[in-house]
């Protein structure tokens, strides 16, 4: 039991250290979501009271697109110097690697959300009419849904031609129920309505897809 968690921790720390030194993923994600916020502000009056109705969708679209930027870089650095091939022939369990990558992406996207949310609140003059702690739950479950599928599909699209285009093509259709739940729950909470159904749906989605991704990851990693 200690060996797999040790591998997960080592890989995760390595990724975090690399990111801390280069800050490639976080910088590109931040700049990208900032661009989305600015572009969206042209399409409607961002300070109107009605903007609360669309803020949920807007926030998650920005995070979704930004997350794809980070997810695409997840495995790319393991291709250089054949690191991934070395991992495949090593006896280390594939799921340890998958968990490390997923946790790493989860941390990156969470940092992005923590930095961007104050900006959203300021730009769109948002204030929640419902309980804020529920927004935290939605953020955690929603981010996990995005990164667990995203990390899996990034490993999959690594094997294809034009892999950067492939990831969103695979990720977005499968994520539609999760995206719908994130957007609807955020909008409901901001407007002071109940969001219990959506949060439960999101948690179930997380549970099912995390299990299946863990079951199938070894197959995908070793496919040839």
């Amino acid at each position: 039991m200690s060996a797999p968690t040790g591998i997960t921790r080592a890989t995760l720390l390595k990724d975090l250290r690399l990111e801390w030194r280069s800050k490639d993923a976080i910088n590109s994600m931040l700049f990208f979501s900032l661009l989305v916020v600015v572009v969206f502000s042209f399409s409607f009056d961002p300070t109107a009271e009605e903007s609360r109705q669309i803020a949920g969708g807007l926030i998650w679209v920005a995070f979704l697109f930004a997350a794809v930027v980070a997810l695409n870089q997840t495995w790319a650095r393991e291709i250089r110097n054949q690191v991934l091939d070395a991992y495949r022939v090593s006896p280390a369990p594939a799921n340890s690697l998958f968990l490390a990558k997923t946790l790493g992406n989860f941390i990156f996207v969470t940092v992005l959300e923590a930095l961007m949310t104050p900006l959203f609140i300021a730009f769109y003059r948002l204030h929640s009419l419902g309980p804020e702690w529920q927004l935290l739950l939605v953020a955690i479950f929603g981010t996990w849904a995005l990164v667990v599928n995203g990390t899996f599909f990034a490993a999959m699209s690594l094997r294809t031609r034009s892999r950067e285009i492939m990831l969103p093509l695979l990720l977005f259709p499968i994520s539609i129920p999760a995206i719908l739940a994130m957007v609807q729950s955020t909008t409901a909470i901001l407007n002071g309505e109940g969001a219990r159904f959506w949060i439960v749906l999101l948690a179930t989605y997380d549970l099912v897809f995390t299990t299946v991704c863990l079951l199938l990851f070894e197959t995908v990693l070793n496919a040839e």
Binding site: N149, F152, M156, R159, T160, R161, S162, M166, L169, L170, F172, P173, I174, I176, P177, A178, L180, A181, Q184, F197, W198, L201, T204, Y205, V208, F209, V212, C213, L216, T219, V220, A223, E224
Partner: protein
Amino acid sequence: MKKVFPILVVLTGILLSYALYQALVVAPTEQTMGNVQRIFYYHVPSAWTAFILFFVNFGASIAYLIKRRPTADIIALVSAEVGVVFCTVVLVTGPIWARPVWGIWWTWDMRLTSTLVLWLIYVSYLFLRRFSSSGETPLLAAALAVLGALCVPFVYFSIWFFRTQHPQPVMGGGGSIDPRMMHALLINWLAFSCFAFLVCWSRYRLEKLQREVDHAHAMKSLLEPHGSAR
């Protein structure tokens, strides 16, 4: 097996023409919608056939993940391709009917939205098959098919809840259906299923031949002495 195929072609042809006769002549004209309602005999059977094919795709993908037989992979590929075609028929015939009856081409109703999302999932499956290199395609596609199929209940459940929050357009009335209409519908469904099976079968043979040809080419280039290719 080679003799069965032409027989099946003839039988399907007869069945399709009989179903066409049933749908256009025998089935009574609907009172309020008129003749445009007859598109129902193509729309609904196509939807059922597409759902069955997607289910076959799921089963074949699971079988491939367990047994790793190329046959299962070909069945998965073929059922997804033909399923997407039938699903496209559903999405095209729907608006043609909706425009005169509802007055709009499209509405984000539960069934329409979830069918569209289903179509998107299987189109992305076909994209993956097209973009990945041939050796890895079967495994990657099978993994995606399993995830896609697991996504379907979530799609239905979430969109059902999403859309019942809002007023729904009146779907083509509940209540009883004329037995002749039901008959025409079922005959059309049978004919469409036979047709889909036929297309799947010929596509299956084509794909198998294609793989044999590819394999033969690969072997040939391996066995050829160096330099002679130039």
